[in-house]
């Protein structure tokens, strides 16, 4: 994991770096105006989230990316596995799970959410729009 500093705090378009340096399963953190943004490559799908857990502030870039147990009938388990819609990053401190797709915590009734950003690949570079 590498940290890339970007001087222009007001920039709307943030270049993270070459896609080749962000292979599947990796994460990079970019900084802009004091904000850290974690960019995950989950099996070829790119996701950019604020790198701060809204619970106690842990760095989400240090968390595992995985599936989670979807709501099921009592005593039944339904692991989301590789389903792109239900991939989460687990907070490295307390295990709260945030969907990579929309930043929402998967816990029932939980309002916590992590801000997400649009991410794209342009001319071989990973770019985040703030």
């Amino acid at each position: 994991m590498a940290t890339v500093s970007e001087p222009a705090a007001e920039a709307r378009r943030l270049v993270v770096g070459p896609l080749a340096e962000l292979p599947p399963g990796s994460v990079r953190v970019v900084e802009s105006g004091g904000r850290e943004i974690a960019v995950f490559n989950d099996d070829g799908r790119l996701h950019a989230l604020r790198n701060v857990c809204p619970h106690h502030g842990a760095p989400l870039c240090r968390g595992r990316v995985a599936g989670f147990m979807r709501t099921a009938a009592p005593y039944e388990y339904d692991y989301s596995g590789d389903d792109p819609a239900d991939r989460v990053v687990l907070c490295p401190w307390h295990g709260y799970k945030f969907r990579l797709s929309d930043g929402r915590c998967t816990a029932v009734g939980e309002r916590l959410a992590v801000k997400t950003y649009r991410v794209a690949v342009e001319d071989g570079d990973v770019v985040v729009y703030l």
Partner: protein, 364 residues
């Protein structure tokens, strides 16, 4: 206030199991050593077959209200005297009977004994109490060791006049376990809340519910009894029992309620990180507790600073979750006006009247 409903009143036997003599078969009398003539019953070991109680902890306060003794009659052994003292004496309009001497039947090693004693008690309660004074209501007792027998007993008794709940004595299995599923299913089917109460056998008998460690003193044991209720509430929520039985109501009598605040907060928080283990919860744990669990008030908490009481009541959603109880005729009896002093009249009305009405519904 009128219409006060007391959710924890204990009818007692004057002569132990012998009071159930007329309510069981001759074969079962022989099996239990009840009756059969003093000539033999006094000489044989079977005659001392007793109900499991906390024989090892001695209540120096005497266990009962001294003024509940009526001549030669032990406390709460006579319906008319009890009705006069409790209902007329304290302005209470109805009281739910929870078998005063059967708290511990979950500790009987033989499930058949427990079920037989439970059935006999239910008949005794109907004839000697519910039919004597209509202000009494009854919680029909079942044997927790044998869910099938418990369901049969619920089916047999649920239609009797005055039956408003099922009393499920505690056992050494926590209540979320599938063992109890038929009992909860039957309770829901017949719109009967399930009532639990300290068993009096905790840590004394092998099949009794367990506490952490073995308290030395009665006072220590008595204060610690809420441990079991906490474990049972956690078990019920985590096993998804309230998902399976969305109409089930679970009433904790004499188990305290202040602990519920931290339990709700802690479990709500824990499932955020640990929810993958029990992914069948479709609501926050505290939502299930708030909707499905009711707490009787006695022994009412007495915060050092009375101003804390209101906050505490809000923390546990008292306006929905609390129902008044006196625990008559026990030594730690709560009198309705004194015990609930300091609570707003609106909330007192909910605790004493509205919440019990909602809990027992049309059966009341």
């Amino acid at each position: 206030m009128t219409g006060i409903i007391d959710s924890d009143v204990h009818p007692n036997f004057q002569n132990g199991l012998r009071d159930l003599h007329d309510y069981m078969s001759d074969s079962w009398r022989k099996r239990l050593g009840i009756g059969g003539g003093a000539d033999w019953s006094g000489r044989f070991a079977a005659a001392s077959y007793v109900l499991p109680l906390d024989y090892l902890y001695i209540n120096t306060a005497g266990a009962y209200r001294d003024d509940a003794v009526d001549g030669e009659r032990a406390p709460a052994t006579d319906a008319a005297f009890t009705a006069a003292q409790l209902f007329d004496g304290h302005g209470i309009d109805a009281g739910v009977l929870i078998a005063g001497h059967l708290f511990g039947i979950g500790a009987f090693p033989d499930p058949e004994v427990a079920a037989t004693v439970a059935s006999a008690y239910n008949e005794w309660m109907c004839e000697r109490w519910l039919q004597v004074d209509r202000r009494f209501r009854g919680a029909l007792v079942v044997a927790p060791q044998d869910p099938e027998a418990a369901v049969k007993e619920i089916e047999r008794m649920q239609g009797r006049d005055g039956i408003v709940a099922v009393f499920l004595p505690l056992h050494d299995l926590l209540h979320g376990e599938r063992h109890y599923r038929p009992v909860f299913a039957a309770a829901q089917r017949y719109a009967l809340p399930v009532v639990v109460h300290p068993s009096g056998t905790e840590n004394v008998f092998a099949r009794a519910p367990r506490m952490a460690g073995t308290p030395t003193y009665y006072v220590e044991w008595h204060t610690a009894l809420s441990q079991i209720h906490q474990s049972n509430v956690l078990s019920l929520v985590c096993h998804g029992v309230f998902e399976r039985f969305p109409e089930l109501r679970y009433v904790i009598a004499e188990g305290g309620f202040a602990w519920a605040a931290e339990l709700m907060w802690k479990l709500d928080r824990d499932v955020k990180g640990l929810g993958d283990e029990i992914p069948w919860l479709r609501r926050r744990p505290s939502d299930y507790i708030r909707d499905h669990v009711r707490f009787t008030t006695q022994p009412m908490v007495e915060p050092h600073d009375r101003a804390h009481l209101q906050t505490l009541l809000e923390m546990v959603y008292a306006e929905e979750t609390l129902v008044f109880s006196s625990d008559y005729p026990h030594w730690d009896f709560d009198e309705p006006t004194r015990a609930l002093a300091g609570i707003s009249p609106e909330l007192r009305r909910k605790i004493c009247v509205d919440n019990p009405k909602a809990l027992y519904g049309d059966r009341l």
